[in-house]
Symmetry: C2
Subunit: 119 residues, 2 copies
């Protein structure tokens, strides 16, 4: 896969709450498919389908234990996704600066009203 | 939208090379739909469909210019996605540490061979 295809696969894999929950569970340690399925009201085939999407993105692998075949997290693709997002940091930081300017303006226009900021 | 739905929408929006390219273009400044469509061999309706996915995720908005209706980037959802990924940083950093250990082992086992590391 080229870098763009890898980002497609990673972001697709992350665009689902069950798959994000599976990753959160695997962050605690290697887990068999049966154990992974437990907290979800989902059949094992449904979980296996989600695991395939995660596997395709390289986000999980199968540990060497012939019987249990536990899955484990592989976080490198998350790093690539994080690096991609990092390029846009200046934009979300700028949006907070714009909000600060706006709040300062509101404060100077209405000196008697309290402006509560939440951030 | 709750935070989980927002992450779904953001990651879905980012899981496509055209939509990522649109964001990269908008990072350079506000752009009309017609201008946005130019670099892509894609019809304006096809581009509009992508813009709707980005809009749904809150990643773009329409600037106040009745005629051109230029789109602009809204990066806050990218911050939420970045924060989510940040939780997994220790895992990709650990994977580099494991690689370093492995390379050290290889080096000590084969003192005469050169092991080239690439990172």
């Amino acid at each position: 896969m080229n870098p763009s295809d890898r980002l497609d696969a990673t972001f697709t894999a992350l665009a689902d709450p069950t798959r994000r929950a599976i990753l959160a569970r695997l962050a605690l340690g290697e887990t068999s498919v049966m154990e992974l399925a437990k907290p979800f009201s989902m059949s094992q085939p449904a979980i296996s389908k989600h695991l395939k999407v995660l596997e395709r993105a390289g986000l999980i692998s199968t540990a060497q234990d012939a019987q249990r075949r536990p899955r484990r997290i592989e976080a490198r693709p998350l790093e690539e996704a994080s690096d991609w997002l990092e390029e846009y940091r200046k934009f979300w930081e700028a949006s907070y600066q714009r909000l600060d300017v706006l709040l300062d303006e509101l404060k100077s226009q209405q000196p008697k009203k309290r402006v509560r900021t939440k951030r």
